[in-house]
Protein backbone atom coordinates (compact mmCIF):
# COMPACT_ATOMS: atom_id res chain seq x y z
CA UNK A 1 0.00 0.00 0.00
CA UNK A 2 1.32 3.44 -0.94
CA UNK A 3 1.13 5.90 1.94
CA UNK A 4 0.59 9.64 1.47
CA UNK A 5 3.46 11.98 2.27
CA UNK A 6 3.52 13.49 5.83
CA UNK A 7 2.62 16.98 4.53
CA UNK A 8 -0.57 15.60 2.98
CA UNK A 9 -1.47 13.91 6.27
CA UNK A 10 -0.89 17.16 8.18
CA UNK A 11 -3.08 19.08 5.71
CA UNK A 12 -5.79 16.45 6.06
CA UNK A 13 -5.61 16.58 9.87
CA UNK A 14 -6.02 20.36 9.77
CA UNK A 15 -8.97 20.20 7.36
CA UNK A 16 -6.99 22.09 4.74
CA UNK A 17 -7.26 19.76 1.77
CA UNK A 18 -9.54 20.37 -1.16
CA UNK A 19 -12.64 18.27 -1.64
CA UNK A 20 -11.18 15.72 -4.08
CA UNK A 21 -7.95 15.19 -2.15
CA UNK A 22 -9.90 15.00 1.08
CA UNK A 23 -12.09 12.26 -0.35
CA UNK A 24 -9.16 10.18 -1.63
CA UNK A 25 -7.28 10.67 1.64
CA UNK A 26 -10.35 9.64 3.66
CA UNK A 27 -10.58 6.44 1.62
CA UNK A 28 -6.94 5.63 2.31
CA UNK A 29 -7.22 6.40 6.01
CA UNK A 30 -10.25 4.16 6.35
CA UNK A 31 -8.08 1.27 5.20
CA UNK A 32 -4.71 2.18 6.77
CA UNK A 33 -4.39 2.02 10.61
CA UNK A 34 -0.88 3.59 10.57
CA UNK A 35 -2.02 6.73 8.75
CA UNK A 36 -5.20 6.86 10.83
CA UNK A 37 -3.10 6.84 13.97
CA UNK A 38 -0.89 9.59 12.55
CA UNK A 39 -3.91 11.79 11.78
CA UNK A 40 -5.34 11.20 15.25
CA UNK A 41 -2.03 12.18 16.88
CA UNK A 42 -1.79 15.38 14.85
CA UNK A 43 -5.34 16.36 15.73
CA UNK A 44 -4.70 15.83 19.43
CA UNK A 45 -1.50 17.87 19.28
CA UNK A 46 -3.36 20.69 17.50
CA UNK A 47 -6.03 20.70 20.13
CA UNK A 48 -3.44 20.76 22.95
CA UNK A 49 -1.58 23.63 21.32
CA UNK A 50 -4.78 25.61 20.98
CA UNK A 51 -5.47 25.19 24.69
CA UNK A 52 -1.89 26.10 25.52
CA UNK A 53 -1.85 29.27 23.43
CA UNK A 54 -5.16 30.32 24.93
CA UNK A 55 -3.67 29.99 28.40
CA UNK A 56 -0.38 31.69 27.51
CA UNK A 57 -1.72 34.73 25.77
CA UNK A 58 -3.90 37.34 27.39
CA UNK A 59 -6.07 37.46 24.30
CA UNK A 60 -9.06 39.72 23.93
CA UNK A 61 -12.40 37.95 24.09
CA UNK A 62 -13.12 35.98 20.98
CA UNK A 63 -9.72 36.50 19.36
CA UNK A 64 -8.55 33.29 17.78
CA UNK A 65 -5.11 33.21 16.17
CA UNK A 66 -6.09 30.34 13.93
CA UNK A 67 -9.07 32.28 12.69
CA UNK A 68 -6.92 35.39 12.27
CA UNK A 69 -4.45 33.51 10.12
CA UNK A 70 -7.28 32.22 7.96
CA UNK A 71 -8.70 35.70 7.62
CA UNK A 72 -5.34 37.12 6.61
CA UNK A 73 -4.95 34.50 3.90
CA UNK A 74 -8.52 35.02 2.81
CA UNK A 75 -8.14 38.80 2.81
CA UNK A 76 -5.15 38.65 0.49
CA UNK A 77 -7.15 36.55 -1.98
CA UNK A 78 -10.19 38.77 -1.58
CA UNK A 79 -8.13 41.92 -2.00
CA UNK A 80 -6.75 40.74 -5.31
CA UNK A 81 -10.09 39.51 -6.56
CA UNK A 82 -11.99 42.56 -5.32
CA UNK A 83 -9.51 44.92 -6.95
CA UNK A 84 -10.15 43.33 -10.31
CA UNK A 85 -13.91 43.14 -9.75
CA UNK A 86 -14.24 46.77 -8.69
CA UNK A 87 -12.05 47.99 -11.53
CA UNK A 88 -14.42 46.24 -13.97
CA UNK A 89 -17.45 47.55 -12.09
CA UNK A 90 -16.25 51.16 -12.30
CA UNK A 91 -15.41 51.06 -16.02
CA UNK A 92 -17.95 52.84 -18.26
CA UNK A 93 -19.84 50.72 -20.73
CA UNK A 94 -18.18 50.60 -24.12
CA UNK A 95 -20.80 48.69 -26.09
CA UNK A 96 -21.18 51.34 -28.73
CA UNK A 97 -17.48 51.80 -29.38
CA UNK A 98 -16.98 48.03 -29.54
CA UNK A 99 -19.69 47.76 -32.16
CA UNK A 100 -18.11 50.58 -34.03
CA UNK A 101 -14.78 48.82 -33.93
CA UNK A 102 -16.35 45.65 -35.30
CA UNK A 103 -17.84 47.64 -38.16
CA UNK A 104 -14.53 49.30 -38.81
CA UNK A 105 -12.99 45.99 -39.69
CA UNK A 106 -11.46 44.68 -36.52
CA UNK A 107 -10.41 41.06 -36.81
CA UNK A 108 -13.60 38.92 -36.92
CA UNK A 109 -14.49 37.22 -33.66
CA UNK A 110 -14.30 33.45 -33.71
CA UNK A 111 -17.34 32.43 -31.69
CA UNK A 112 -16.10 28.87 -31.43
CA UNK A 113 -12.83 30.03 -29.92
CA UNK A 114 -14.72 32.30 -27.54
CA UNK A 115 -16.92 29.38 -26.42
CA UNK A 116 -13.85 27.21 -25.81
CA UNK A 117 -12.22 29.95 -23.73
CA UNK A 118 -15.41 30.50 -21.74
CA UNK A 119 -15.79 26.77 -21.16
CA UNK A 120 -12.21 26.55 -19.97
CA UNK A 121 -12.79 29.44 -17.58
CA UNK A 122 -15.88 27.78 -16.14
CA UNK A 123 -14.03 24.49 -15.64
CA UNK A 124 -11.09 26.33 -14.06
CA UNK A 125 -13.45 28.22 -11.75
CA UNK A 126 -15.22 25.04 -10.61
CA UNK A 127 -11.90 23.28 -10.08
CA UNK A 128 -10.55 26.22 -8.07
CA UNK A 129 -13.69 26.39 -5.94
CA UNK A 130 -13.82 22.67 -5.19
CA UNK A 131 -10.11 22.51 -4.37
CA UNK A 132 -10.45 25.34 -1.86
CA UNK A 133 -10.72 24.22 1.79
CA UNK A 134 -14.25 24.60 3.07
CA UNK A 135 -13.50 27.35 5.62
CA UNK A 136 -11.61 29.47 3.09
CA UNK A 137 -14.34 29.04 0.49
CA UNK A 138 -16.94 30.22 2.99
CA UNK A 139 -14.75 33.14 3.98
CA UNK A 140 -14.21 34.12 0.33
CA UNK A 141 -17.94 33.97 -0.35
CA UNK A 142 -18.75 36.04 2.74
CA UNK A 143 -16.15 38.62 1.77
CA UNK A 144 -17.60 39.00 -1.73
CA UNK A 145 -21.05 39.41 -0.24
CA UNK A 146 -19.74 42.08 2.13
CA UNK A 147 -18.07 44.00 -0.71
CA UNK A 148 -21.30 43.81 -2.73
CA UNK A 149 -23.38 45.03 0.23
CA UNK A 150 -21.04 47.94 0.84
CA UNK A 151 -21.12 49.06 -2.78
CA UNK A 152 -24.89 48.78 -2.98
CA UNK A 153 -25.18 50.75 0.28
CA UNK A 154 -23.13 53.57 -1.20
CA UNK A 155 -25.30 53.63 -4.31
CA UNK A 156 -28.58 53.58 -2.40
CA UNK A 157 -27.57 56.48 -0.17
CA UNK A 158 -25.77 58.97 -2.39
CA UNK A 159 -26.51 61.73 0.16
CA UNK A 160 -24.02 60.11 2.51
CA UNK A 161 -21.07 61.04 0.37
CA UNK A 162 -18.10 58.97 1.36
CA UNK A 163 -20.11 56.67 3.57
CA UNK A 164 -18.33 53.53 4.57
CA UNK A 165 -19.25 50.44 6.45
CA UNK A 166 -18.86 50.90 10.19
CA UNK A 167 -15.59 49.54 11.42
CA UNK A 168 -14.22 48.75 7.99
CA UNK A 169 -10.92 50.61 8.06
CA UNK A 170 -11.43 53.50 10.47
CA UNK A 171 -9.33 53.91 13.54
CA UNK A 172 -11.75 54.46 16.35
CA UNK A 173 -11.31 55.51 19.95
CA UNK A 174 -14.06 53.97 22.02
CA UNK A 175 -14.87 55.14 25.52
CA UNK A 176 -17.19 52.78 27.33
CA UNK A 177 -18.21 52.20 30.91
CA UNK A 178 -15.41 49.67 31.36
CA UNK A 179 -12.49 50.81 29.22
CA UNK A 180 -11.08 53.03 26.53
CA UNK A 181 -10.22 51.08 23.44
CA UNK A 182 -8.58 51.73 20.14
CA UNK A 183 -10.25 49.85 17.31
CA UNK A 184 -8.89 49.31 13.84
CA UNK A 185 -10.28 47.08 11.10
CA UNK A 186 -12.98 45.90 13.46
CA UNK A 187 -10.58 44.64 16.15
CA UNK A 188 -10.44 46.33 19.51
CA UNK A 189 -7.65 46.61 22.04
CA UNK A 190 -8.33 47.86 25.51
CA UNK A 191 -5.93 50.68 26.41
CA UNK A 192 -7.28 51.99 29.70
CA UNK A 193 -9.37 49.55 31.67
CA UNK A 194 -11.18 51.35 34.46
CA UNK A 195 -13.86 50.97 37.07
CA UNK A 196 -17.42 52.30 37.05
CA UNK A 197 -16.44 55.05 39.47
CA UNK A 198 -14.16 56.70 36.91
CA UNK A 199 -15.26 59.66 34.81
CA UNK A 200 -14.79 59.16 31.08
CA UNK A 201 -14.37 62.14 28.75
CA UNK A 202 -14.10 62.38 25.01
CA UNK A 203 -12.72 65.30 23.04
CA UNK A 204 -13.65 65.85 19.42
CA UNK A 205 -10.17 65.99 17.85
CA UNK A 206 -9.52 62.46 19.01
CA UNK A 207 -8.53 61.88 22.57
CA UNK A 208 -10.29 60.04 25.33
CA UNK A 209 -9.52 60.10 29.00
CA UNK A 210 -10.46 58.47 32.26
CA UNK A 211 -10.38 60.41 35.51
CA UNK A 212 -10.44 58.77 38.91
CA UNK A 213 -9.40 59.34 42.49
CA UNK A 214 -6.54 56.96 43.20
CA UNK A 215 -7.55 54.74 46.09
CA UNK A 216 -4.00 54.52 47.50
CA UNK A 217 -2.72 58.06 47.10
CA UNK A 218 -5.99 60.02 47.10
CA UNK A 219 -4.72 61.87 44.03
CA UNK A 220 -6.92 62.81 41.10
CA UNK A 221 -5.37 61.06 38.12
CA UNK A 222 -6.38 61.37 34.47
CA UNK A 223 -5.13 58.81 31.95
CA UNK A 224 -5.52 59.77 28.31
CA UNK A 225 -4.79 58.21 24.95
CA UNK A 226 -4.47 60.16 21.72
CA UNK A 227 -4.67 59.80 18.00
CA UNK A 228 -1.29 59.91 16.34
CA UNK A 229 -1.40 63.44 14.94
CA UNK A 230 -2.03 65.15 18.26
Amino acid sequence: MKHPVPAQIALFAGGDLGRWQRWTMARHIARCPACRHEVQALREATSQLRELTDEMADLPNGLNWNRLAEEMTGNIRVGLAAGEAIALFDKPLRTRSLRAKLKLGCPPVSWNAALVVMGAMVIFGIAFWTSLPLQQAEHLLASFQRIRAERIGTLIHPANTGASAPGATDVVLEASSSSIQVRENGRAMSLIPHSDAATVSVSMPGSAGVRFVDADTGQVTTNKVYYAEQ
Binding site: N160, E174, V202, M204, P205, G206, A228
Partner: protein
Protein backbone atom coordinates in the same frame (compact mmCIF):
# COMPACT_ATOMS: atom_id res chain seq x y z
CA UNK B 1 1.35 27.80 4.74
CA UNK B 2 -2.05 26.72 5.71
CA UNK B 3 -2.95 27.69 9.21
CA UNK B 4 -4.16 24.50 10.82
CA UNK B 5 -1.28 22.53 9.37
CA UNK B 6 1.10 25.15 10.70
CA UNK B 7 -0.51 24.74 14.09
CA UNK B 8 -0.15 20.99 13.87
CA UNK B 9 3.52 21.33 12.95
CA UNK B 10 4.14 23.84 15.74
CA UNK B 11 2.50 21.45 18.16
CA UNK B 12 5.47 19.15 17.77
CA UNK B 13 7.79 21.78 19.11
CA UNK B 14 5.53 23.56 21.60
CA UNK B 15 7.36 26.82 21.21
CA UNK B 16 6.46 29.28 23.94
CA UNK B 17 5.81 32.64 22.39
CA UNK B 18 3.93 35.92 22.68
CA UNK B 19 4.15 37.65 26.06
CA UNK B 20 7.46 39.07 27.24
CA UNK B 21 8.25 41.02 30.36
CA UNK B 22 10.37 43.89 29.07
CA UNK B 23 13.06 43.73 31.66
CA UNK B 24 15.77 43.67 29.00
CA UNK B 25 15.02 47.22 27.84
CA UNK B 26 13.74 49.40 30.65
CA UNK B 27 11.55 52.41 29.88
CA UNK B 28 13.45 55.63 29.33
CA UNK B 29 12.55 58.49 31.64
CA UNK B 30 13.61 61.77 30.13
CA UNK B 31 13.41 64.78 32.45
CA UNK B 32 15.11 68.01 31.35
CA UNK B 33 18.18 69.13 33.36
CA UNK B 34 16.32 72.18 34.69
CA UNK B 35 13.15 70.20 35.46
CA UNK B 36 11.34 71.24 38.65
CA UNK B 37 10.83 67.56 39.49
CA UNK B 38 13.50 64.92 40.07
CA UNK B 39 12.99 61.18 39.75
CA UNK B 40 13.80 59.36 42.98
CA UNK B 41 12.70 55.84 42.10
CA UNK B 42 10.73 53.87 39.53
CA UNK B 43 9.08 50.47 39.79
CA UNK B 44 7.69 48.82 36.66
CA UNK B 45 5.88 45.98 38.39
CA UNK B 46 4.10 43.64 36.02
CA UNK B 47 4.74 45.58 32.80
CA UNK B 48 4.95 43.42 29.73
CA UNK B 49 4.57 43.50 25.97
CA UNK B 50 2.58 41.10 23.85
CA UNK B 51 2.38 40.56 20.10
CA UNK B 52 -1.15 41.24 18.83
CA UNK B 53 -1.58 40.84 15.11
CA UNK B 54 0.72 43.37 13.49
CA UNK B 55 1.40 45.36 16.66
CA UNK B 56 2.95 45.04 20.08
CA UNK B 57 0.61 45.78 22.97
CA UNK B 58 2.47 47.25 25.91
CA UNK B 59 0.77 46.75 29.22
CA UNK B 60 2.65 49.40 31.10
CA UNK B 61 2.55 49.89 34.85
CA UNK B 62 4.88 52.22 36.67
CA UNK B 63 5.04 53.67 40.14
CA UNK B 64 7.28 56.74 40.08
CA UNK B 65 8.46 58.68 43.07
CA UNK B 66 9.21 62.33 42.22
CA UNK B 67 10.60 65.19 44.29
CA UNK B 68 9.70 68.84 43.87
CA UNK B 69 13.11 70.43 43.37
CA UNK B 70 11.71 73.92 42.76
CA UNK B 71 11.02 76.67 45.26
CA UNK B 72 7.27 76.77 44.61
CA UNK B 73 4.35 74.52 45.40
CA UNK B 74 3.31 72.16 42.64
CA UNK B 75 -0.42 71.99 41.82
CA UNK B 76 -0.39 69.61 38.89
CA UNK B 77 1.81 67.59 36.57
CA UNK B 78 1.43 65.85 33.20
CA UNK B 79 3.73 63.07 32.01
CA UNK B 80 3.80 62.08 28.35
CA UNK B 81 4.10 58.32 27.83
CA UNK B 82 5.11 57.33 24.31
CA UNK B 83 5.46 53.86 22.84
CA UNK B 84 5.38 55.06 19.24
CA UNK B 85 4.62 58.59 18.14
CA UNK B 86 2.79 57.87 14.89
CA UNK B 87 0.80 54.76 15.79
CA UNK B 88 -2.83 55.34 16.79
CA UNK B 89 -2.96 54.42 20.45
CA UNK B 90 0.83 54.73 20.66
CA UNK B 91 0.80 57.79 22.87
CA UNK B 92 -0.78 58.43 26.24
CA UNK B 93 -0.51 60.79 29.14
CA UNK B 94 -0.98 60.77 32.87
CA UNK B 95 -2.11 63.96 34.57
CA UNK B 96 -2.26 64.43 38.30
CA UNK B 97 -4.18 67.47 39.49
CA UNK B 98 -5.19 69.01 42.82
CA UNK B 99 -1.70 68.46 44.21
CA UNK B 100 -0.24 70.40 47.09
CA UNK B 101 3.45 69.50 46.96
CA UNK B 102 5.82 71.92 48.67
CA UNK B 103 9.51 72.46 47.84
CA UNK B 104 11.65 69.34 48.40
CA UNK B 105 8.58 67.22 49.15
CA UNK B 106 8.12 63.93 47.34
CA UNK B 107 4.97 62.63 45.67
CA UNK B 108 4.01 59.47 43.79
CA UNK B 109 2.75 59.21 40.21
CA UNK B 110 1.24 55.94 39.05
CA UNK B 111 1.00 55.05 35.39
CA UNK B 112 -1.33 52.29 34.19
CA UNK B 113 -1.68 52.42 30.42
CA UNK B 114 -1.78 50.08 27.48
CA UNK B 115 -0.07 51.40 24.39
CA UNK B 116 0.49 50.10 20.89
CA UNK B 117 3.54 50.14 18.70
CA UNK B 118 4.41 48.41 15.43
CA UNK B 119 6.17 45.06 15.53
CA UNK B 120 9.04 46.47 13.49
CA UNK B 121 9.94 48.82 16.32
CA UNK B 122 10.18 46.00 18.83
CA UNK B 123 13.87 46.56 19.51
CA UNK B 124 15.16 49.31 21.74
CA UNK B 125 13.35 51.21 24.46
CA UNK B 126 9.73 50.07 24.71
CA UNK B 127 8.36 53.22 26.36
CA UNK B 128 9.60 56.75 26.84
CA UNK B 129 8.30 58.88 29.69
CA UNK B 130 8.74 62.61 29.41
CA UNK B 131 7.56 65.67 31.27
CA UNK B 132 4.90 67.66 29.43
CA UNK B 133 4.31 70.21 32.11
CA UNK B 134 4.17 71.27 35.73
CA UNK B 135 1.79 73.90 37.14
CA UNK B 136 2.76 75.85 40.24
CA UNK B 137 0.54 77.47 42.82
CA UNK B 138 1.18 80.93 41.33
CA UNK B 139 -0.25 79.53 38.04
CA UNK B 140 3.13 79.68 36.32
CA UNK B 141 3.97 76.72 34.15
CA UNK B 142 7.07 74.76 33.19
CA UNK B 143 7.35 72.27 30.33
CA UNK B 144 7.23 71.74 26.57
CA UNK B 145 3.39 71.66 26.63
CA UNK B 146 3.04 69.34 23.63
CA UNK B 147 -0.33 68.13 24.95
CA UNK B 148 -1.66 71.57 25.96
CA UNK B 149 -1.06 70.62 29.58
CA UNK B 150 -0.74 74.24 30.63
CA UNK B 151 -4.37 74.81 29.67
CA UNK B 152 -5.62 71.54 31.17
CA UNK B 153 -3.79 71.99 34.47
CA UNK B 154 -4.71 75.68 34.76
CA UNK B 155 -8.37 74.90 34.06
CA UNK B 156 -8.34 72.21 36.72
CA UNK B 157 -6.71 74.58 39.21
CA UNK B 158 -9.33 77.27 38.50
CA UNK B 159 -12.09 74.74 39.11
CA UNK B 160 -10.34 73.54 42.28
CA UNK B 161 -10.13 77.07 43.66
CA UNK B 162 -13.79 77.73 42.78
CA UNK B 163 -14.98 74.56 44.49
CA UNK B 164 -12.80 74.91 47.61
CA UNK B 165 -14.09 78.47 47.97
CA UNK B 166 -17.65 77.19 47.61
CA UNK B 167 -17.29 74.41 50.18
CA UNK B 168 -15.57 76.78 52.62
CA UNK B 169 -18.49 79.18 52.26
CA UNK B 170 -20.92 76.30 52.84
CA UNK B 171 -19.03 75.35 56.00
CA UNK B 172 -18.96 78.93 57.22
CA UNK B 173 -22.66 79.53 56.52
CA UNK B 174 -24.24 76.17 57.38
CA UNK B 175 -21.69 74.39 59.55
CA UNK B 176 -20.63 70.75 59.34
CA UNK B 177 -24.14 69.46 58.74
CA UNK B 178 -24.59 71.52 55.61
CA UNK B 179 -21.15 70.51 54.35
CA UNK B 180 -21.98 66.86 55.03
CA UNK B 181 -25.17 67.22 53.00
CA UNK B 182 -23.17 68.75 50.13
CA UNK B 183 -20.71 65.85 50.19
CA UNK B 184 -23.48 63.26 50.21
CA UNK B 185 -25.17 65.04 47.30
CA UNK B 186 -21.88 65.04 45.40
CA UNK B 187 -21.28 61.32 46.00
CA UNK B 188 -24.84 60.55 44.89
CA UNK B 189 -24.42 62.68 41.79
CA UNK B 190 -21.16 60.90 40.89
CA UNK B 191 -22.86 57.54 41.21
CA UNK B 192 -26.07 58.46 39.37
CA UNK B 193 -24.67 60.50 36.50
CA UNK B 194 -25.80 58.91 33.23
CA UNK B 195 -22.95 57.59 31.13
CA UNK B 196 -22.83 56.61 27.51
CA UNK B 197 -20.45 54.55 25.39
CA UNK B 198 -18.89 56.83 22.79
CA UNK B 199 -16.78 56.11 19.73
CA UNK B 200 -14.71 58.87 18.17
CA UNK B 201 -14.04 58.32 14.48
CA UNK B 202 -11.51 60.73 13.08
CA UNK B 203 -12.73 62.69 10.05
CA UNK B 204 -16.27 63.96 9.78
CA UNK B 205 -17.60 61.43 7.33
CA UNK B 206 -20.69 59.32 7.72
CA UNK B 207 -20.36 55.66 8.58
CA UNK B 208 -24.09 55.03 8.96
CA UNK B 209 -26.39 54.19 6.07
CA UNK B 210 -29.44 55.63 7.81
CA UNK B 211 -30.90 58.84 6.34
CA UNK B 212 -29.05 61.88 7.58
CA UNK B 213 -30.64 65.04 8.93
CA UNK B 214 -29.35 68.35 10.16
CA UNK B 215 -30.21 69.10 13.76
CA UNK B 216 -29.93 72.55 15.29
CA UNK B 217 -28.22 73.06 18.63
CA UNK B 218 -30.11 74.56 21.52
CA UNK B 219 -27.83 76.48 23.89
CA UNK B 220 -27.77 76.82 27.62
CA UNK B 221 -27.52 80.44 28.58
CA UNK B 222 -24.72 81.11 31.08
CA UNK B 223 -25.08 84.79 32.03
CA UNK B 224 -21.41 85.41 32.85
CA UNK B 225 -19.97 83.60 29.86
CA UNK B 226 -17.67 85.81 27.74
CA UNK B 227 -18.80 83.86 24.67
CA UNK B 228 -22.31 83.89 23.28
CA UNK B 229 -23.29 80.92 21.12
CA UNK B 230 -25.22 82.32 18.13
CA UNK B 231 -26.30 79.08 16.54
CA UNK B 232 -25.11 75.71 15.39
CA UNK B 233 -25.98 72.42 13.84
CA UNK B 234 -24.67 68.90 13.41
CA UNK B 235 -25.49 66.06 11.06
CA UNK B 236 -27.31 63.17 12.71
CA UNK B 237 -27.82 59.74 11.23
CA UNK B 238 -29.22 57.08 13.54
CA UNK B 239 -26.87 56.77 16.47
CA UNK B 240 -24.20 58.94 14.92
CA UNK B 241 -23.46 62.68 15.16
CA UNK B 242 -20.88 64.35 13.01
CA UNK B 243 -19.51 67.61 11.69
CA UNK B 244 -20.79 70.00 14.37
CA UNK B 245 -20.71 73.62 13.23
CA UNK B 246 -21.11 76.35 15.81
CA UNK B 247 -21.16 80.11 15.53
CA UNK B 248 -19.94 82.06 18.55
CA UNK B 249 -19.45 85.70 19.44
CA UNK B 250 -16.96 87.21 21.86
CA UNK B 251 -19.03 89.46 24.10
CA UNK B 252 -16.18 90.28 26.48
CA UNK B 253 -13.69 93.13 26.19
CA UNK B 254 -10.69 90.81 25.87
CA UNK B 255 -9.38 88.72 23.00
CA UNK B 256 -10.07 84.98 23.24
CA UNK B 257 -7.67 82.29 22.00
CA UNK B 258 -9.42 79.08 23.01
CA UNK B 259 -12.84 77.87 23.98
CA UNK B 260 -14.57 74.59 24.57
CA UNK B 261 -18.23 73.77 24.04
CA UNK B 262 -19.83 70.88 25.89
CA UNK B 263 -22.22 68.75 23.85
CA UNK B 264 -25.35 67.23 25.45
CA UNK B 265 -27.48 64.76 23.49
CA UNK B 266 -31.15 63.92 23.96
CA UNK B 267 -32.49 60.56 22.90
CA UNK B 268 -36.00 59.57 21.79
CA UNK B 269 -37.12 58.83 25.33
CA UNK B 270 -35.98 62.21 26.62
CA UNK B 271 -32.81 61.07 28.36
CA UNK B 272 -29.76 63.32 28.27
CA UNK B 273 -26.05 62.50 28.12
CA UNK B 274 -22.85 64.48 27.91
CA UNK B 275 -21.47 63.21 24.61
CA UNK B 276 -18.16 65.03 24.54
CA UNK B 277 -16.65 68.43 23.97
CA UNK B 278 -15.78 70.48 20.93
CA UNK B 279 -12.61 72.47 21.57
CA UNK B 280 -11.43 75.28 19.30
CA UNK B 281 -8.21 77.25 19.03
CA UNK B 282 -9.10 80.61 17.57
CA UNK B 283 -8.28 84.29 17.67
CA UNK B 284 -11.45 86.11 18.58
CA UNK B 285 -11.25 89.86 19.15
CA UNK B 286 -13.86 91.58 21.35
CA UNK B 287 -17.22 91.71 19.57
CA UNK B 288 -16.05 89.41 16.79
CA UNK B 289 -17.91 86.30 15.56
CA UNK B 290 -16.38 83.04 14.45
CA UNK B 291 -17.32 79.54 13.38
CA UNK B 292 -16.16 76.36 15.08
CA UNK B 293 -16.04 73.19 13.01
CA UNK B 294 -15.63 69.71 14.45
CA UNK B 295 -13.91 67.21 12.18
CA UNK B 296 -14.73 63.97 13.93
CA UNK B 297 -17.72 61.68 14.13
CA UNK B 298 -19.17 60.59 17.44
CA UNK B 299 -20.97 57.26 17.49
CA UNK B 300 -23.02 55.89 20.33
CA UNK B 301 -23.12 52.13 19.90
CA UNK B 302 -25.92 51.34 22.27
CA UNK B 303 -27.51 52.12 25.55
CA UNK B 304 -28.48 49.19 27.73
CA UNK B 305 -28.46 46.93 24.71
CA UNK B 306 -30.69 49.24 22.64
CA UNK B 307 -29.51 51.53 19.83
CA UNK B 308 -29.55 55.20 20.81
CA UNK B 309 -31.75 57.40 18.63
CA UNK B 310 -30.51 60.99 18.80
CA UNK B 311 -33.32 63.50 18.77
CA UNK B 312 -31.80 66.77 19.91
CA UNK B 313 -28.64 68.51 21.10
CA UNK B 314 -27.74 71.18 23.59
CA UNK B 315 -24.46 73.06 23.74
CA UNK B 316 -22.91 75.09 26.53
CA UNK B 317 -19.66 77.01 26.84
CA UNK B 318 -17.60 75.00 29.29
CA UNK B 319 -14.35 77.00 29.33
CA UNK B 320 -12.70 80.01 27.71
CA UNK B 321 -9.06 81.02 27.61
CA UNK B 322 -8.26 84.68 26.98
CA UNK B 323 -5.25 85.85 25.00
CA UNK B 324 -3.53 86.95 28.22
CA UNK B 325 -3.64 83.34 29.55
CA UNK B 326 -6.40 83.86 32.11
CA UNK B 327 -9.44 81.62 31.95
CA UNK B 328 -13.18 81.68 32.42
CA UNK B 329 -15.13 78.72 33.76
CA UNK B 330 -18.81 78.45 34.69
CA UNK B 331 -19.64 79.46 38.24
CA UNK B 332 -21.05 77.07 40.83
CA UNK B 333 -24.47 78.63 40.33
CA UNK B 334 -24.16 78.05 36.55
CA UNK B 335 -23.37 74.42 37.27
CA UNK B 336 -26.46 74.13 39.47
CA UNK B 337 -28.71 74.51 36.40
CA UNK B 338 -30.69 71.23 36.33
CA UNK B 339 -29.65 70.23 32.82
CA UNK B 340 -25.94 70.75 33.59
CA UNK B 341 -26.07 69.24 37.04
CA UNK B 342 -27.63 66.06 35.67
CA UNK B 343 -24.99 65.32 33.06
CA UNK B 344 -21.73 67.14 33.89
CA UNK B 345 -19.30 65.38 36.21
CA UNK B 346 -18.10 67.16 39.34
CA UNK B 347 -14.68 68.78 39.10
CA UNK B 348 -11.45 66.94 39.97
CA UNK B 349 -11.28 68.76 43.27
CA UNK B 350 -14.88 68.06 44.23
CA UNK B 351 -14.32 64.36 43.55
CA UNK B 352 -11.15 64.41 45.65
CA UNK B 353 -12.80 66.20 48.56
CA UNK B 354 -15.82 63.88 48.44
CA UNK B 355 -13.49 60.87 48.59
CA UNK B 356 -11.67 62.35 51.58
CA UNK B 357 -15.00 62.77 53.33
CA UNK B 358 -16.08 59.23 52.42
CA UNK B 359 -12.86 57.59 53.56
CA UNK B 360 -11.64 59.76 56.43
CA UNK B 361 -14.66 61.71 57.64
CA UNK B 362 -15.66 65.29 58.26
CA UNK B 363 -12.63 66.32 60.33
CA UNK B 364 -10.20 65.27 57.62
CA UNK B 365 -12.27 67.14 55.04
CA UNK B 366 -12.27 70.35 57.07
CA UNK B 367 -8.52 70.02 57.66
CA UNK B 368 -8.00 69.58 53.92
CA UNK B 369 -10.08 72.67 53.11
CA UNK B 370 -8.14 74.70 55.66
CA UNK B 371 -4.82 73.78 54.04
CA UNK B 372 -5.56 76.10 51.13
Amino acid sequence: MRSSSALATCALFLIPCNSVVFAAALPKIDLPPDSPVVLLSADYGESNETARGGAMLLDFHAALSLRNSSQRKIRGITLLVTAQDVTPGGKGSVTVTSLDVGPQETFPVRIDLRLLRPLQASSGVPVEIGLDGVLFDDLTFYGPDKLSSRRTLTLSEWEARRDRRYFKSVLAAGGQEKLRQEMLDSLTHQADRPSLDVEVVRGARATSFEPEKQVQFAFLSLPDSPVEPMGGMARIAGNEARAPRLEVKNRSDRAIRYLEVGWILHDRSGREFLAGSVPADLNLAPGQKSQILGDATLKFPQLGGQPLGIEGMTGFVSSVEFADGTMWIPTRSDMEAPQLKRVVAPSDEEQRLAQIYRKKGMKALIAELNKF
